[in-house]
Amino acid sequence: MSDSKTTITVWIFALTLLAGLLVLPQLLSYSQREIAVFLIINVLLVVSYRLMTLTGEWSLGHVVIMGVGAYASALFSKRLGVPVPLSMFLGASTAGLTAVVLSFPLFRMKGFYFLIGSFAAGEVIRLIWKYFTFPFGGAKGLNLIPSFPDIGWISFFDPVNYYYLCLIVVSVSLFILYRVERSRFGLTFHALHWQDKLAESVGVNTFRYRMLAFTLASFFAGLSGALYAHYIGTVNPTRFDVEEMVYVLIWAIVGGTATFYGPIVGVVALTIVNDVLLRALGFDTIRPMIYGAVLIASVLFMPDGLESIFPKLKRLMMGRKTEPATKSEAGEIP
């Protein structure tokens, strides 16, 4: 992984990708530009979700945490008049703080119990939004959320400009998340996933590291929520319900979570299938059915996720046997 040739290839690939992303909005129609903005936000959401899954626990509350970021940022800017860029940061921090608090009850559970426990905690938060009209706006939620302030002549009302803003924020966040995974902390997260008893026996405080992963993941989920809220200008409890969470889960599992790029491939591929291809074909009523069939086919024929194609492709192109895929590096489905 560390030889200079691979590093150069990675850099060339990354720069090409960046260039592609920069010209992308110019090639799209207006509605597709909007889809592109949401796609970028969802990339951050699903990659932050993967950080959480590194420790081996799958949460069903991640979208609600994103909502905490969205609600908090909207409230800070709308009711307290905090400038939007700062309120976004505060919103993300609120999401992180929520995770710290939720860690205490939730990390007593494991596996399916954690899955459902996190779902219940998320539902409680969502019902609080729904029940309290002040300050959360009840079932109708909040609207007229201040948008991102213009910088000079650049108006962020335009999806293209907001796309570039999101691209910058998300790229920086992804870089941080990537570095975290490669750091000592990231290695500990992997250790917790595979051998939590062993890790504990050599002195790793498993609770504290799980909490750290959860908090970091929630911070970035909250940031994606804040990006969402100040673009669309309105948030409501239904936007963050379990159905949306199921989509995040689908993106992560269909893409695969063993590699950093797996979930990104998942969200990009499935968004293109659902929002671009099927919409263009015009099957509005039977779109969910085709999507469902795609899901079943993908888990049946690619149980390791879309990410597993790339090592295979690489092997094909190289025409020789390289070491088996990156499986050993990171999280497998528990």
Partner: protein
């Protein structure tokens, strides 16, 4: 006041009946396949629409429609087993995604066949029993309660007394050891899927006149069922029944005396409390994860 309390108790018993049937089916599937069936709510929906088609549409007798619904949904369970659950036996998250895919397909079929609007079904009977002064139980609800008692007893006897039942429990405890004893795993999973799905179907069919089916009715039921099976301890049939009764009583009482949103909140908080005190549910084994 005492009438209201008695009436709420009767309503709770009704709620406990259908919830425990749904939850037991889900637990049965989980126990044998190791997969959480996310499409369970849509199987319930399919049962309800069988009644819409046969009883409202073709004017067949109500109970014929119910039995056909149970068998039809049981067969849907077999389709799921054959199409993907068998291949994904050691892959719980894959099974989850596949069942979500199947859920979307079933919903679309229902939308195509019956439209997105609520289907109103005339009740099969208008009769009701007056238990005490002013405490009523309609026959329509009584059917559900009787069906729950009969089916759960039958299931209990099946699992405890018959050879198939023993084999099924063996598979739930240790798949490999069961296979080594010559138990056909595929046959057991087929039976479990048929029974589990059929239970969801019969509930959907029996409650169809009471709830006005929509293609998306499975959503709320699956959420409740998840809460119940986690509180009971995943994979524990008795736990699921006890948790269903507990949840039904708490939820119905809080809904009656406060409102639905508070009831949902109380239910979720109670569940979290149970899990904080005992992280593997009420009946779950301590060391299993």
């Amino acid at each position: 006041m005492s009438e209201l309390i008695l009436q709420t108790i009767v309503n709770s018993i009704y709620a406990a009946s259908y919830m425990s049937l749904i939850a037991v089916g889900l637990v049965l599937i989980f126990g044998v396949m190791g997969v959480i069936n996310f499409a369970h709510g849509e199987l319930y929906m399919a049962g309800a629409y069988t009644v819409v088609a046969l009883y409202s549409g073709l004017n067949l007798p109500f109970f014929v429609a119910v039995v056909v619904g149970m068998v039809f949904v049981g067969l849907l369970g077999l389709v799921m087993e054959y199409a993907f659950f068998r291949a994904l036996r050691d892959n719980p998250l894959g099974g989850l995604i596949a069942s979500i895919g199947f859920l979307l397909i079933l919903q679309t079929v229902a939308v195509l066949g019956f439209g997105v609007r609520m289907a109103h079904i005339r009740p099969s009977t208008q009769e009701k029993i007056e238990l005490f002064d002013g405490v009523l139980l309609t026959h329509q609800r009584l059917y559900v309660i009787v069906a729950a008692i009969l089916l759960l007893t039958a299931l209990y006897i099946f699992l405890r007394k018959t050879k198939f039942g023993w084999a099924m429990r063996a598979c739930a405890q240790d798949t490999e050891a069961a296979a080594l004893q010559g138990i056909s795993l595929n046959q057991i999973t087929r039976i479990a899927m048929f029974i589990g799905a059929g239970l969801a179907g019969v509930v959907g069919a029996l409650t169809a006149p009471l709830v006005s089916p929509t293609p998306y009715m499975g959503h709320s039921i699956i959420v409740t069922a998840f809460i119940i099976i986690v509180v009971g301890g995943i994979g524990q049939l008795e736990g699921a029944v006890v948790a269903a009764i507990l949840y039904a009583f708490v939820h119905t009482f809080v809904t009656t005396f406060f409102d639905g949103v508070v009831a949902d909140m109380v239910g979720l908080v109670l569940m979290l409390l149970v899990l904080v005190v005992k992280p593997t549910g009420l009946f779950g084994a301590n060391d299993r994860v």
